[in-house]
Amino acid sequence: MTDRNLLRVEGLSVSFAIPAARVRAVSEASFEVRPGRCLALVGESGCGKSVLAHALLGLLPGNATVSGEAWLKQSGAEPVELIGASQQVLARRVRGRAIGLIPQSPATHLTPVRTARAQLQEAINELGSSARADDLAERYGLRPADLDRYPHELSGGMAQRVANAIALAGDPWLVLADEPTSGLDQPLVDRAMGTLRELCDEGRAVLLITHDLRAAERVADDLAVMYASRLVETGPAAGVLGQPRHPYTAGLVAAQPDRDFVPIPGLPPELTRLPEGCAFRPRCGHATERCAESPPMDGGVACHHTLASPDLARAPEIAKESHA
């Protein structure tokens, strides 16, 4: 695992054809994920963030149209362009080997009729890995005896650890965690976030997908905020959350219960009929006529009215907190 590993996504768009409409799930997303760093992709449910993750692994259904590029560069190997790659290339070189997926709700992701060990061993065999199931179990906080249980005999936290062990059986340098904390209580969320941080500290890259700003704040080095299929703000996590520059990010930060606890007015738009121009315009207090034109991503923020720090009266205080 050297610094030559890199995932670079450029102009990635995904849309789905459904009867009488087109769902634009991801619009021109660009970002990079590097070893030793965690990038959190945050946004509310239905904004397209899980679709983005699945596009990288070639796991989208047949009605999806994907464009853009996602280059997976690895030391000692030819770079792979994930979007155009065949299922064969993805299966033999990418899934489980370069990119491990920690799924949403691991308890339901596991096959109910087979033991955890059978499923972990299958992953090891398929990947041709030299790892031993017991070692992997211990490494991710399970007793080897726990592996002999069926999924319904595992607690939520144990199922999470089994999913982690399976995702990491092939020693991938990039870990993709899709809402890994949904349905877990706070101690388990803390534990899951701790595990992701350890993976980063071992030199892996982590792409965390979550709606939970507080979880993202705890573990992420970098943050990408997604709204209605588009990335609207990216940058170092402390900066984005401490001093948000996009009005949507500022609204999300202010809505937290330990801040102003005030909702953003209105609802996000339907992905089948995104408004022309800035999709946040109908809910934005700063919107003007210029917003009828789609704002380009510029310096980590896509907004015609980028908030300077004086716009946020509390910004200096928040910035100090997040650096603490």
């Binding site: 509310e44 449910s45 239905g46 607690s155 507080r214 937290q256 219960p257 909702p263 209105g266 609802l267």
Partner: protein, 219 residues
Amino acid sequence: MLEASGITVRYGRQVALDDASLTIEPGVVTGLAGPSGCGKSTLARVLALMLRPRSGTLTVDGDPVLRWRQRAPRELRTRVALIYQQPRLAVDPRLTLADVIREPLTANGRPDDGRVAELAGEAGLTGDLLTRRPHEVSDGQLQRACVARALTLEPRYLICDEMTTMLDASTQAHLVRLVNAYRERTGAGVLAISHDTILLNRWADKTVDLFDPADQKQP
């Protein structure tokens, strides 16, 4: 007051709740914290008359609950409403969002009188969304409908069981505001169940702990 006293619940041999007591006062948001598996959701179901405890008593504004679930007198049952963590498991997938909100009225043979539209508006659901079925909306939109549904019969007590755990910060703030507005208007009592102590600190007037003996000494 909604008063549960000495509630014990067993699932088979498993003791889910052992001699738990809790009081919800009208007009007050009572927070209930505790780790997963400690019986919070079981207690929520008992309080909503949806689960008969092995032992213990429940009274709603002084009226003892003697029968549970569909056997409970309708007038008593509709005084308490429950909002679940996962909206997708709590709605009939065949109903449109408007019908989801209307369901309690229909079940009780009451007319709509514009109530559905009013509640939907307060929940931030408009026009087209109300004609959709659950699979066509996001978790946040569906939970908005579930909160509106819980308010249709004007319950005296509202049990919110991890109501916002799956939602983003903005939707959470909106739904909490909606419940608070209802409480202020009607003087209803609210039980806010959550593992999120930061949320409870902000939302609840007082917080109780199922495992704290001091909280269990309530009359």
